[in-house]
């Protein structure tokens, strides 16, 4: 009878110790789970912040490049506007009127034509300088494809500028004095350069768009 009571006490003792131990283990697990939860929440928060910063950075880069590309295309359009049409439409009639008025000796009509040619050449060179400054800026962060197109564009712009300068010289020269027209060959060459600029403009536009999409 005594042995049964002893066994019962020991059983109680073991059960109690087990419960205590179990409780301790449970508490330790709960703490660990809580710590893991907290750690997880912090990691998640950190990831969110990094992601948010990354999105902000990409957004800033996108907007900056977008503005830069837009301004460049705008300047390029302005340059394309300075073409043979201006000489044909605005300068050539002035010179023709001057020749008609006093056979090209000198008059206010000559002064007007001279003023116009100074303005055309001044605008052309200023626009080229603006464009080249932007091209150099774009080149700093451009991909190989864009760099190649920009190089090609720079060459075409320089050719166009030299060509327009030549045409201004031409309309003040002896041949134009008698024919009062710009020969077809000159117009075709000018149209060719203009088409090449448009073609490069379109290729560049596509490349710049692709570049923006990759950001």
């Amino acid at each position: 009878m005594e042995d049964v009571a002893k066994i019962e006490r020991e059983k109680q003792q073991v059960s109690y110790e087990y419960s205590v131990l179990n409780e301790k283990v449970k508490q330790a697990h709960a703490k660990e789970i809580e710590s893991l939860k907290q750690q997880n929440a912090e990691d998640l928060d950190r990831q969110k912040r990094i992601h948010e910063i990354d999105i902000q950075k990409r957004k800033y880069k996108y907007e900056t490049k977008n503005r830069e590309y837009y301004a460049f295309m705008d300047e390029l359009d302005d340059f394309r506007g300075l073409n043979i049409n201006i000489i044909e439409r605005e300068l050539a009639p002035m010179i023709a009127a001057w020749y008609a008025s006093d056979n090209g000796v000198s008059s206010p009509l000559f002064a007007q034509a001279n003023d116009k040619s100074i303005k055309i050449i001044g605008d052309l060179r200023a626009q080229e300088a603006k464009l080249f400054s932007q091209v150099n800026g774009l080149k700093l962060s451009a991909s190989k494809d864009i760099l190649d197109l920009l190089d090609e564009l720079q060459k075409t712009i320089t050719q166009s500028k030299y060509y327009l300068e030549e045409i201004v010289g031409y309309v003040f020269g002896q041949q134009f004095r008698y024919t009062k027209t710009i020969p077809e060959s000159i117009q075709q060459k000018s149209a060719g350069l203009s088409e090449r600029t448009i073609e490069l403009n379109q290729k560049l536009l596509a490349a710049l768009r692709a570049d923006l999409d990759q950001l």
Binding site: S106, A111, E165, E166, G169, Y170, F172, G173
Partner: protein, 132 residues
């Protein structure tokens, strides 16, 4: 001393609203007179875009010239047809030019036909001046 040949190449003066007159070089004479040592295409453009000189500028007194107080360096073309070589040489000597460069065969626009030589002299003058 042979004189300049600018006069006969000028077009008839253009009368301005303020009473002044602007003087231009005739298109077909510009190259030979003003810029005989630059390529024809360039001199044609220079002729088309030439800036006129006011007739008054050729007649009014210059006032106290800067060369009396400031050190001077001089470069000119021996084939300048606007201002004869002898006159340019005289002006250089009168200004006490520290160095005078004569570019043989160069025209009035020596800075366009020989930009390297002009830039070199400017750099030399700037360096000498900055040493005090």
């Amino acid at each position: 001393m042979a004189g300049g040949t600018l006069g006969p190449t000028l077009a008839a003066p253009v009368q301005l609203d303020d009473g002044n007159k602007d003087l231009y070089i005739q298109q077909d004479k510009f190259g030979q007179q003003f810029a005989a040592d630059v390529p024809a295409a360039d001199s044609a453009l220079m002729a088309a875009t030439q800036r006129p000189i006011s007739e008054a500028a050729l007649k009014e007194a210059s006032g106290d010239p800067a060369w009396k107080k400031l050190p001077s360096w001089f470069i000119y073309g021996s084939a300048d047809k606007n201002i004869p070589e002898a006159a340019l040489k005289f002006m250089a000597e009168r200004a006490g030019s520290k160095k005078t460069v004569t570019v043989q065969g160069a025209s009035h626009v020596v800075m366009t036909s020989n930009p390297g030589k002009v830039a070199e002299l400017i750099v030399e003058a700037a360096q000498a001046s900055s040493k005090g």
